[in-house]
């Protein structure tokens, strides 16, 4: 019922951007709109029948040029809950293996009349590149070390769920900032929403001059924990260790790990987030990840609701519209 009303007032919800390529310069009002809508869909997910007909007749292709488990399942579930038709593509089983270009693959898929593309690609800027030669709506599901806007939206939704607002919220982003698309999208989104952001991690994994984005840097995790309302703890990727950027798991844990000891030493109860997958015992202790102050599984559920809202708002403008 609620959603029918929303469909009627859809014109009020028109977003400024055609695609969701990233959160850089993304309008604050549009983030508000997405978050509000996400909470509505979250209600749907709590119903016994978790399916609505909102995107019936809309066709979405999930183009995954890089492995993904949770993002891909989250998008697929969101699409199914919205009753849209989906096609899956993964690089390993594609004609890319036969030497076809990215452009040809994409244009061929679009020629089969689709409305939207959800794309994960290892190269930064790939979604923007794609937008130059296809007409369908493009949702960036992570492009290399650049952006992961839907993750930032679900992170913001999870924070809003706990704190009620993002304005003036103090968020610490912990870990390998330099190689993290989650960090960059979070910085853009949180700053747009009026939150304060402090980055904390090994100095060689925090890009030089990132303060220009309006964030602070503090290499002392204990000070950041004293300051923050919530921490977004990033995964330490093993391949980074291979490059010699981090000396060892134990050293990382001793300097930046969200350990049980550190949590006990801080009186203020801070909220702990993690985009997954978790390296238990490295960036976060198991007991912390499983504690009440961790909202990691709420983030996963909110991920489906956020992606429903995003698909609905970006693709639902004229359901079943004909692309050329």
């Amino acid at each position: 019922m609620v959603l029918t009303v929303y469909t009627l007032f859809q014109w009020m919800l028109k977003l400024k951007n055609k695609h969701l390529l990233g959160l850089k310069d993304f309008p604050r009002e549009d983030i508000h709109t997405i978050l509000d809508m996400a909470f509505k869909f979250r209600e749907v997910l709590d119903r016994p029948i978790k399916k609505v007909p909102s995107l019936q007749g809309v066709t979405v292709v999930n183009l995954f040029f890089e492995n993904s488990t949770r993002t891909r399942i989250s998008f697929e579930l969101a699409q199914k809950r919205l009753s849209c038709d989906t096609v899956n593509f993964s690089a390993s089983s594609s004609s890319l293996k036969k030497g076809e270009s990215f452009k040809d693959t994409s244009q061929n898929i679009e020629a089969m009349k689709i409305d939207a593309v959800v794309m994960r690609h290892p190269t930064p800027g790939a979604p923007m590149h794609l937008s130059k030669f296809i007409d369908a709506v493009i949702i960036n599901a992570g492009d290399g070390t650049h952006e992961h806007p839907t993750q930032a939206i679900l992170d913001m939704m999870s924070l809003k769920e706990v704190f009620g607002t993002l304005n003036k919220l103090k968020i610490g982003i912990i870990g390998d900032i330099a190689h993290s698309r989650v960090a960059l999208s979070n910085i853009y989104g949180l700053k747009a929403m009026g939150a304060e952001v402090t980055l904390c991690g090994p100095p060689n994994l925090i890009p030089k001059n990132i303060e220009d984005m309006g964030v602070k840097i503090n290499y002392n995790i204990d000070e950041v924990m004293d300051w923050a309302d919530a921490l977004n703890v990033l995964r330490i990727q093993r391949e980074r260790m291979g490059l010699g950027l981090i000396p060892s798991n134990r050293e990382y844990r001793s300097k930046f790990g969200i350990t049980k000891k550190r949590i006990l030493n801080h009186k203020k109860e801070i909220i702990i987030m993690h985009p997954g997958p978790i390296n238990r015992g490295v960036e976060i202790d198991s007991v912390v990840a499983d504690s009440d102050q961790a909202i990691i599984l709420d983030q996963v559920l909110n991920g489906v609701a956020s992606r429903m809202a995003i698909l609905y708002l970006f693709c639902g403008e004229s359901p079943g519209k004909d692309t050329k």
Partner: protein
């Protein structure tokens, strides 16, 4: 060790000239030591041992930023114990030891081993940890955990970090603990397998030359990176005019740069190599007389911050071989003061007080060590010097386990008579 004994319960150093580099004062007075600590006249009973210091200089114990004590793994050439004895003989009460051991000091457990073992010896030993695992220049060693165990700085020793990205990562990461990186400056592709300084002498001897460019180009890279990242960097054993110019120019705008020079680069020029003396085969090589003079000038102009011995023991068979096969390095702790005092003060324009700064407060400042050593209640860390004494450096003056010194049979000026450290006293007279 007959020259090093436990200190007497009470000790008076009488009638010496005290040079206090920390408070920048020189004056004549007695120094009182009780139970190894600096005290005052009132605390001393009548039974104290008195050392007559007339005509002598009493000052802080020296501090060396670059020594190889080879333990663990190469105890046949040096150990923490014999290295400490050599240091005491040279007036050094505090020594930073390099990580090129076997295995190298690239983890907190080994740093802990050095710190614990050093407690038994008469000097203070500070380990310098490796920057990269196994000194291979490929991936960061556990710098933070080593720092927590007592590593005072980080270096891959004589293995320069060739990869610019690795050097950048290391300098950046070191900021986590605000700790200094020491990179032996040598572009290995340029130095190739050079044996001695490239120039007239290498041409004369037919030995492959190692150009001064190999050093200055690396220094340029390192100082640019350190300035860009706002990291602390220390340039070890500077040897050439070109390198001095780089350091001088970067130091103008960057207070986090420090540099050292080794005694042998101040004392010898490459003409001494005409005899193919393998004890003079060092890294970086002994350069020309022009370079030597420029180094002395750079010390006077305070472009160079301190003197470090680069004490590098080698087995005799590593040196008693043809020049191309000989190992690099010389020992340097015992001969240091006599050599640099001769080159810089007796033959040069430096005041003794300035030389003492280069051996005491300046290196301590680089490492963040306490420097107010003549204050009451401090554990005595002092030397008694005879600054005008002419003496010939002989095998018997060497306390190191190795004897690879080109200073043997050289006439040096200025001698360490006594060294007092951690409740021990070294006496050159037995």
């Amino acid at each position: 060790m007959k020259n090093i004994k436990k200190i007497e319960e009470e000790l008076i150093l009488r009638n010496g000239k005290i040079i206090d580099p920390f408070n920048k004062k020189s004056f004549y007075d007695d120094v009182y030591i009780k139970n190894g600590k600096i005290t005052n006249a009132k605390s001393i009973s009548g039974r104290a041992r008195i050392i007559d210091c007339k005509g002598k200089v009493i000052t802080h114990g020296f501090c060396d930023l670059r020594s190889h004590f080879c333990e663990p793994g190469k105890e046949d050439v040096e150990s923490l114990e014999t290295g400490s004895n050599a240091a005491m003989a040279g007036g050094f009460t505090r020594v930073c030891v390099m990580p090129n051991t076997s295995p190298p000091l690239d983890n907190p457990e080994l740093i802990n081993f050095i710190i614990n073992k050093a407690e038994n010896y008469p000097i203070n030993i500070h380990p310098i940890g490796a920057v990269t695992k196994m000194l291979k220049g490929k991936s960061l060693a556990e710098m933070s955990l080593m720092f927590e165990q007592g590593a005072v700085a980080f270096s891959d020793d004589d293995l320069p970090i060739q990869d610019g990205t690795m050097m950048r990562i290391a300098l950046d990461y070191a900021r986590l603990n605000n700790v200094t990186i020491i990179n032996h400056a040598e572009d290995k592709y340029l130095s190739s397998d050079g044996q001695i300084n490239e120039g007239y002498i290498s041409n004369t001897l037919g030995l492959k030359g190692n150009p001064d460019l190999a050093e200055s180009i690396m220094i340029h890279r390192d100082l640019q990176l350190a300035t860009f990242l706002n990291s602390k960097i220390h340039v070890p054993h500077v040897s050439s005019i070109k390198s001095i110019k780089e350091i001088e120019s970067f130091k103008k705008n960057n207070k986090n740069i420090t540099a050292e020079v080794a005694p042998h680069h101040l004392y010898f020029n490459d003409e001494a190599l005409l005899s193919y003396d393998t004890n003079l085969k060092v890294r970086p090589p002994i350069r020309t007389e022009l370079d030597r003079k420029a180094l002395i000038k750079a010390v006077e102009d305070e472009i160079i911050d301190c003197i470090a011995t680069d004490h590098t023991p080698q087995r005799i068979e590593e040196k008693e071989t043809t020049f191309d096969l000989a190992s690099f390095g010389m020992i340097g702790l015992e001969s240091c003061f006599g050599a640099v005092n001769k080159s810089l003060v007796i033959e040069g324009n430096l005041k003794l007080e300035q030389l003492i700064n280069l051996l005491t407060i300046n290196p301590r400042k680089i490492m963040g060590f306490n420097s107010d050593l003549l204050a009451e209640n401090k554990i005595a860390e002092l030397v008694i010097l005879d600054p005008l004494k002419k003496w010939t450096f002989e095998l018997g003056d060497i306390f190191s386990k190795s004897f690879n010194s080109p200073f043997i049979n050289q006439e040096l000026i200025g001698k360490v008579d006594y060294t007092i450290s951690k409740g021990y006293i070294f006496s050159s007279q037995n």
